[in-house]
């Protein structure tokens, strides 16, 4: 039985006790799947999981608190579920997690780059997964691409491809891409120096259109409709199109996620302008991991910034 | 005893002792614990705590010409028990080192013995006990020193008459010669470091 079929039967088995199961189905275009809310067996025929299962279904869980729901989870999705549960933003017992071993997900921007000169990604007729490769039907004929070349960046540093702590796990656990996330991307980024980075953000943020897609895609954003970006009491940022205001929103989002971000990368993926906003969050995650050994969504116990030790062995304070 | 004029405190000397020893002599509150535990007290002209007091008062001459700084055995009892955690033995060392540089030898036999020992090391690379004794007798004229011990120890074969000379004895001699030429003088070396730093800066600019 394929993973696909196994997942379907796992969903089918669980459905009677659940108000719905969140998974993925066909999206607006062949390269994009969309979240699918499965309420009955009939919905199952639209279900598919695999290379296109980009969205993080955990996003919807806090709003569904109070009812029993199922969720089909990749490794990174399961981390979000774990973190939400740790923070009691969801009740873990209410969520039925059906996990499977994720082989990575598509980054459409990379496909676009790979198809440069061939066609726009929107013109692709169909996508067929074929082991480590995909075959794309384009107006100029079939194009075969290696999955690893068009997978999201996060997949290249994935240490938890298998949904951890799933209630049901389907398929065979696969080995992680890397054993440890060394945050090499952040180190390399940081190495560019403050002057260059300042200019980098000035340029990037000048493109921001304040659409808040980054925030809306974040499964761990707790504020939802009460974001301080849109508030006058308190009044943290102005409503201008200026770089400082726009940048400061990213700072707020990053700081709010420090010690909580599981690195699912939905913020960056959702950004219509391709601003690499995940970098800020990963810089803080690296710090939190180094200081407190805390991997959000995997570790249990109080998140590190909501607790303390009287003696902090890892914090080397400045000696004045 | 002379009246001590407290206005005439040699503050540069206080500073020199503090720098050389790395200790703050103002921490001493004259409890006398160092004197109380000092095994060599009975040989001193000034007790240890009094030396500390004299340093506090900047009485350079009296400190440097005292026998006490030469007779300190370095047993560290004072340092160990000082309630203010002053390395008192280190302060005594510093005073002796300054005295040595200023050629003040408050206890002749002691400085002569040190010289004899160092000469033996300079010749051989190691100290040679018989050689050291002979040099000491030569320097002090005390030719009967410990002569009664000779019949006890010589038959034991523990006092070889000839020294063990090491291959690198020239190297050792050079170290001592350079020292005697004053090449390790703190002021000289500090000045050297500073000009070095300055020229390095120049090279950069």
């Amino acid at each position: 039985m394929s993973i696909q079929d196994e997942l379907k039967s796992a969903i089918k088995a669980a459905l009677p006790d659940l108000s719905c199961v969140i998974g993925w189905g066909a999206g607006p275009e062949p390269l994009r799947a969309a979240p699918l809310f499965i309420r009955g067996e009939a919905d199952l025929q639209n279900f598919s999981a695999g290379f296109l299962s980009v969205n993080n279904p955990a996003l919807y869980l806090p709003a569904l608190k109070g009812s029993k729901v199922g969720v089909v989870a990749k490794g990174c999705d399961a981390r979000s579920v774990g973190q939400l549960a740790t923070e009691t933003l969801i009740i873990r017992e209410e969520v039925h997690v059906i996990g499977y071993p994720c082989e990575g997900v598509i980054d459409v921007d990379k496909v676009a780059a790979a198809l440069a000169g061939v066609c726009e990604p929107g013109e692709v007729g169909a996508l067929r997964e074929d082991g480590d490769n995909v075959a794309l039907d384009t107006p100029k004929g079939e194009v075969r691409l290696a999955k690893k070349d068009i997978a999201a960046d996060k997949c290249g540093r994935c240490i938890f491809p298998n949904a951890e702590n799933a209630d049901v796990f389907v398929g065979i656990r696969r080995a992680p891409t890397v054993v440890e996330d060394a945050y090499a991307d952040i180190a390399a980024f940081e190495a560019r120096g403050t002057e260059e980075l300042k200019a980098f953000w000035e340029k990037e943020m000048s493109r921001c259109i304040r659409c808040y897609a980054c925030r809306n895609a974040c499964p761990l954003c707790v504020c939802r409709d009460h974001c301080i970006a849109a508030s006058r009491e308190p009044h943290w940022i102005g409503q201008t199109d200026d770089v400082p205001d726009k940048l400061f929103f990213q700072v707020i989002h990053a700081v709010h996620l420090s010690g909580r971000c599981t690195g699912c990368g939905e913020c960056e993926r959702a950004c219509p302008l391709g601003i690499p906003v995940l970098k800020l969050k990963r810089a803080l995650s690296r710090r939190v991991e180094n200081l407190f050994g805390y991997k959000a969504g995997i570790a249990t116990g109080t998140p590190p910034l909501l607790t303390f030790n009287i003696e902090e062995s890892t914090i080397k304070e400045r000696d004045w | 005893m002379e009246t001590v004029c407290l206005n005439k405190s040699d503050d540069a000397f206080v500073k020199a002792v503090e720098t050389e020893s790395g200790q703050r002599v103002s921490r001493c509150y004259q409890c006398g614990n160092c004197t109380a535990g000092c095994p060599m007290f009975f040989t001193f002209d000034y007790s240890v705590s009094r030396i500390m007091r004299l340093i506090q008062a900047g009485q350079k001459e009296r400190v440097l010409s005292s026998s006490a700084v030469w007779l300190c055995a370095g047993c560290e009892t004072c340092t160990q028990r000082c309630p203010n955690e002053i390395n008192v033995a280190g302060v005594m060392d510093a005073c002796r080192h300054i005295a040595h540089r200023e050629k003040k030898f408050g206890a002749r036999p002691v400085s002569a013995f040190f010289k004899a020992f160092m000469d033996s090391v300079r010749f051989n690379g190691r100290s040679h006990e018989v050689g050291t004794m002979i040099l000491y007798m030569l320097y002090t004229g005390r030719i009967w020193t410990d002569v009664e011990l000779a019949p006890k120890i010589l038959p034991k074969g523990k006092m070889p008459l000839l020294p063990h000379r090491i291959a690198g004895r020239k190297e050792v001699a050079e170290i001592i010669n350079r020292f005697n030429q004053g090449l390790s003088d703190p002021d000289l070396v500090r000045a050297g470091l500073e000009t070095q730093g300055a020229s390095a800066k120049e090279a950069v600019s």
Binding site: E195, A199, E202, A283, I310 | -
Partner: protein, 155 residues
């Protein structure tokens, strides 16, 4: 003008009321001379200091930000400084990635009796900021971050 051109840089301090603000007072009572760059914002506890205040100051044009609270175990509110320590320590990881020199931000602990320590902290930190020089404001603001805007223009 707000800071003296060529003489001062913009250094913002966030101090808890009970220990560090008192320590700064003690330094004043003791006439411990300090550079004039620092402006102090008084808050009840270092735990009140949202790291975003620090960021607001740095993004808003401060050349340096200094946070000071009660020593660990001495917090007037028992635990506030423990949380502050974690949050501010984590915050340090964000600055270089954003293009802000991390040396522009420090936090420390000064008790109400440590006037001399406060003097030392202010001297050291101010010297550190002067060594870094003025921070260039993030470009692209509609309100020009005019560093020497006369007061008259503010009204």
């Amino acid at each position: 003008m707000s800071v003296l051109e060529g003489k001062e840089l913009r250094v913002v301090g966030f101090l808890c009321n009970w220990c560090s603000y008192g320590g700064a007072d003690t330094a004043g009572v003791g006439r411990f001379t300090q550079p004039t760059d620092l402006r102090i914002i008084r808050v009840p506890c270092s735990g009140r200091i949202n790291p975003l205040f620090v960021m607001k100051a740095l993004v808003g044009g401060a050349d340096g930000v200094l946070v000071s609270g009660c020593h660990p175990r001495d917090c007037h509110y028992a635990e506030g400084n423990y949380y502050a320590r974690r949050r501010l320590e984590v915050l340090k990881g964000l600055l270089p990635v954003l293009g802000i020199d991390p040396r522009r931000f420090e936090y420390t602990w000064v008790s109400a009796s440590e006037g001399q320590r406060w003097q030392h902290v202010v001297e050291t930190f101010t010297a550190q900021i002067h060594a870094l020089g003025p921070a260039q404001p993030f470009a692209g603001a509609s309100r020009p971050a005019d560093r020497h805007r006369p007061d008259a223009a503010a009204v």
